[in-house]
Symmetry: C2
């Protein structure tokens, strides 16, 4: 199955010049989603995974499915102010300004093996902040799984030591 064909490209969203890779066409196709989750989970066949951390909000979709497949706990990484219990936070730079991600302090135990999941890695800013959150809690990031890599933007290189695994890449096209 060619997963790339399941992803739709919308030009000029959210602003002019951006080619937005729209995964909603993939999500709507149950066979393609089954294939996606199988490919993601195979990567961890020989690896004990305790927790899967999904990044708000598209990472929740793939992360929840991967967690269930691996029989691991699912942990949400959210934007600031959404999680109700005690959290740790990590700021990261945007093109203009900063953003912040949070995780519950009791969500992950020291020594846990954790996989981080999102739909796409572009600059890698959110993923790097998420890796820092997991490490602040004393756990090991054993993989970063995502559907779409944008090699022209270069985020993958920044997370090379954390076993990045993606299923499809789109070059500037």
């Amino acid at each position: 199955m060619n997963l790339k064909e399941k992803i739709r490209t919308i030009p000029d969203f959210p602003k002019k010049g951006i080619m937005f890779r729209d995964i909603t066409t993939l999500l709507a196709d149950p066979e393609a989603m089954e294939h996606t989750v199988s490919l993601m989970s195979e990567r961890y066949d020989a690896q004990k995974v305790d927790k899967v951390a999904g990044i708000e909000s598209r990472g929740f979709i793939f992360g929840a499915l991967l967690a269930q497949r691996l029989n691991a706990g699912f942990i949400p990484i959210r934007k600031e102010g959404k999680l109700p219990f005690e959290t740790v936070k990590e700021e990261y730079d945007l093109e203009y300004g900063t953003d912040c991600v949070e995780i519950h302090r009791d969500a992950i135990d020291a020594g846990d093996n954790v996989v981080i999941v999102d739909d796409l890695v572009a600059t890698g800013g959110t993923i790097l902040a998420s890796i820092n959150l997991i490490q602040k809690l004393g756990a090991n990031v054993v993989g970063v799984s995502y559907v779409i890599d944008l090699p022209d933007v270069g985020g993958r290189e920044k997370i090379r030591e954390f076993n990045p695994h993606y299923l499809v890449e789109f070059e500037g096209e």
Copy 2:
């Protein structure tokens, strides 16, 4: 398994006087999540379900898992401005002001049987708006599945004709 015990209550979040029902403790427990999805899916054993629509963002977690269990497409219902393709919108009233949900116009076909999923129903405002979106596209809402019902708030009564199904209830306590 007592699912209610898997849900943590945080007093005074997001503001004083609110007892916040925190599902992150449920999400972190893979056996409890397996049980949750099994209970949700059993409801549709005798019913053809074409699409499962999850409401941003905790509804994405349970919705994606239910969609996979039912071999149905997953459709995100999102806050305004997040979906890149042509959408239909529905406004709904909040305590102060209004909010808006959107769905892709091509996500659902006329005549589809659709289940709507969220984590919790309180006043029912978001769920009613989501039901309206599905109906605008000519599809049938055959069920509304969610984890937590708050009977004191009364949302469930407003969606009675759409086959509401919840797993746990919390009265004002």
